[in-house]
């Protein structure tokens, strides 16, 4: 007995590690040049090791901010999560 299926699952396309994945609502346009604008929903993965230039979430003055993970930094950056995808609905 077998069952076959050929599909694209949006969940699996967007998400690697289900357990560590969370959403954030984008309120500002600081990442406009990277194609992330206010109103978007971003998918982030907690606990993922960021690579240089990855878009990461950091906490600053009690607020979440997006930032490119730098090659080097004078002060230690505490990365909350790594942005892995962006979702935008037009209708």
């Amino acid at each position: 007995m077998e069952e076959l299926e050929d599909t694209l699952s949006i969940d699996e396309y967007l998400i690697d590690n289900k357990e560590a994945t969370f959403l954030l609502e984008v309120k500002g346009n600081s990442m406009k040049d990277d194609g992330i604008i206010a109103g978007d929903l971003i998918i982030v993965e907690r606990g993922k090791t960021p690579r240089v230039n990855d878009i990461v979430i950091i906490e600053e003055n009690g607020e979440y901010k997006m930032k490119h993970f730098p090659k080097s930094s004078k002060k230690e950056i505490h990365v909350v999560a790594v942005v892995t995808a962006v979702v935008r609905k037009y209708k």
Binding site: L4, E5, I15
Partner: protein
């Protein structure tokens, strides 16, 4: 000897709230506003003097700085499911004991203590939640261990160390020994758990009720209670996936799948499990998933048998001009090939499964109200869903980012 893991969420509901709302971090947080009593709280609130069950109006009056929030059971159960799944990365032998607790049998893993540390670290890093971890030769001892050093504890009790841990432990603090039993035992001169296990077997058989006698065995490091993993559940499975450099070559893909199978089967054998169903998938370069499910004639953990069973299926899945980038195998409908050692202890061990289940339900209702027990039945419902049935993935929202 067995290695049983017990995980216990520290101020679980409050911790979930803080994980989803970083503005609460560092502040005293209490959940249960809608019920009028504190259902959980973080360490900051505990330090002020808030305890579980305290009326909300009293907390407001005594500790005006405390932040009191409504309980959001849907997100707590989402976190719980994620916690169980993280533990299942290491073993399918996981018992979902309550919304913030689980047992796992790590006996057949190469390094149980290291595995327990890795699980704790994963939970912290990926969920932002802190658990107290206990590891011991029986479920009751694992519970003693997880309670030992709360919050954020990590306690291992080896068989030879049991006595020193039980020396000063009041017998009423043992899992499953309630106030009435505790008084009954005290009348017989037993105040600590050590005093209980130091009584000889003949005495124990003559003087203890069945559940007490079971605890007597468990506290001595002799297993009575098994980790009740729902192995036939869809959730319990062994998965392996591999990403490879993109290819159209069927032989390469087949060999990747066979590596998947070997690894999955080796993990199954390590834990003395056999599978009745194989699920395989291929992911294309365009992220299309091609999947298939094959039922096995009889439970197996032999890679050759599995490989033979899927060969034909792979032929029908494979399309010649498509580039593939990863493959995966899931072994599900697991059964244990291990014989239970129950008969060692005679009639005691005729473990009344039903009563144990009801104990769990009772404990859940006692702790979280009727609300939570509903979760159990919804789990059942999800069990009945077939492969094609819709399964929603819920993703918690952490708030806003500027």
């Amino acid at each position: 000897m067995r290695w049983i893991l017990h995980l216990d969420g520290d101020g679980f509901f409050a911790a979930c709230e803080i994980s989803l709302n970083h503005k609460l971090k560092g502040k005293p947080v209490v959940t249960g506003f809608e019920r009028g009593i504190a259902t959980a709280m973080n360490q900051e609130a505990k330090n002020l003097g808030v305890s579980r069950g305290m009326p909300i109006f009293q907390i407001k009056k005594l500790f005006p700085k405390v932040i009191i929030v409504n309980s959001n059971y849907h997100s707590y159960s989402m976190f719980a499911q994620r916690m169980f799944n993280i533990v299942r990365r290491y073993t399918p032998l996981v018992e979902e004991y309550s919304i913030d607790e689980c047992f796992a049998d790590l006996t057949n893993l190469p390094d149980p203590i290291k595995t327990a540390r890795m699980i704790k670290a994963d939970l912290k890093r990926e969920l932002g939640l802190v658990f107290s971890v206990g590891l011991g030769p029986t479920k009751v001892i694992a519970k003693v261990a997880s309670k030992w050093n709360k919050p954020d504890g990590f306690t291992v009790i080896k068989f030879t160390e049991i006595r020193s841990f039980l020396k000063d432990l009041a017998v009423g603090k043992v899992w499953g020994i309630g106030p009435a039993t505790s008084i009954h035992l005290q009348r017989m001169g037993i105040n600590t758990a050590l005093e209980l296990i130091d009584r000889p077997k003949e005495w124990a058989r003559a003087n203890l009720s069945k559940p007490e006698l079971e605890r007597w065995f468990e506290l001595r490091g002799e297993n009575i209670y098994k980790v009740n993993a729902a192995l036939d559940d869809k959730q319990s499975s062994i998965q392996t996936t591999r990403t490879f450099s993109k290819t159209k070559n069927k032989e390469i893909i087949f060999s990747e799948l066979s590596k998947n199978i070997e690894e999955a089967c080796s993990r199954a054998r390590q834990q003395k499990l056999k599978s009745k169903k194989v699920h395989l998938f291929l992911k294309t370069q365009e992220f299309r998933h091609k999947r298939a499910e094959v039922s096995l004639l009889s439970p197996t953990s032999s890679p050759a048998t599995v490989l033979n069973a899927i060969r034909g299926t792979l032929n029908s899945l494979y399309e010649p001009d498509v580039e593939y980038r990863s493959s995966g195998i899931t072994l599900s409908e697991l059964t244990t090939s291990e014989n239970t050692q129950n008969d060692l202890f005679g009639e005691v061990v005729q473990n009344d499964k039903k009563s144990e289940i009801f104990d769990v339900v009772d404990e859940l209702e006692k702790r979280f109200g009727k609300h939570i027990v509903g979760l159990g039945s919804s789990l059942n419902a999800s069990k009945k869903r077939g492969l094609h049935a819709e399964r929603r993935l819920w993703i918690p929202c952490m708030g806003e980012v500027v």
